[in-house]
Amino acid sequence: MKVGVVTFPGTLDDRDAARAATYAGTTAISLWHNDADLKGVDAVILPGGFSYGDYLRCGAISRFAPVMEKIIDAANGGMPLLGICNGFQVLCEAHLLPGALTRNHELHFLCRDQKLEITNNQTTWTSSYKVGQEIVIPLKNGEGSFQCDDATLAALEGEGRIIARYVGENPNGSRNKIAGITNERGNVVGLMPHPEHAIDPLTGPTADGLGFFTSVLIAMVK
């Protein structure tokens, strides 16, 4: 099974995302932002970083990259798509997920290990977890505060589309401590913290993040 990892100018975490996909038993394929070609991949990861220098708004320029047109079409057709950090911002800008990520409420860039609670394990990317399971993975961003209007928040809550919440103090002012959400179909997931940095205790705080990458493999094999 082939998982594409997109590199935009300014992407940072593409190599770790590819490594995580490889650890999980899938084959990582590099995708370039300027190619309108998905190279036959079965799923795509939009990794973290500062694509296009975060100019205009985080993810606002990347969202119109040639590769994104293909990805948006494929995701609307059911292809699994995970956006991590900057990738989550791109998914919101592309309207594949509702809401927007705004400046952390205390303006600080945060970089630390963060405890999360998995709140939905019915998505393509979270089936390896149990609902209520607590995981620790790195959080590192300046604009991670999830915002949306009241109607959208009620819909996300009512439909169980919040896949992870921050445990303990709200680090960035996200509404309802939202760390990640999914679309109605469950194939598109956006997550602010970084599971790809926590796949092996040798190089990360835990191996808790690996489940995102094994989940998609399980989903594709089924």
């Binding site: 205009l56 708004r57 606002a60 927007a100 705004t102 400046r103 409420h105 505060s145 915002q147």
Partner: protein, 81 residues
Amino acid sequence: MAKIVVDVMLKPEILDPQGVAVSAALPRLGFTFAKSVRQGKRFEIEIDGDPTPAQLAEVEKAAEKLLANPVIETFTVRVEK
């Protein structure tokens, strides 16, 4: 040559931490006039000649699609000579 100005502001209900920080800095410098501060973005777009209604409609479309994110922001388009 005319200048089209697009002002983009966060919606009132969206927290603006930058505006809050500026608002907190003002009284430290002795400026006590501000009840609150909101920070936004301004785009200046130069075009040849006076803008036609069709061009302004295009700018509106571009503002909605790219310059602003309607989920969290509002925008205004005006012409400055």
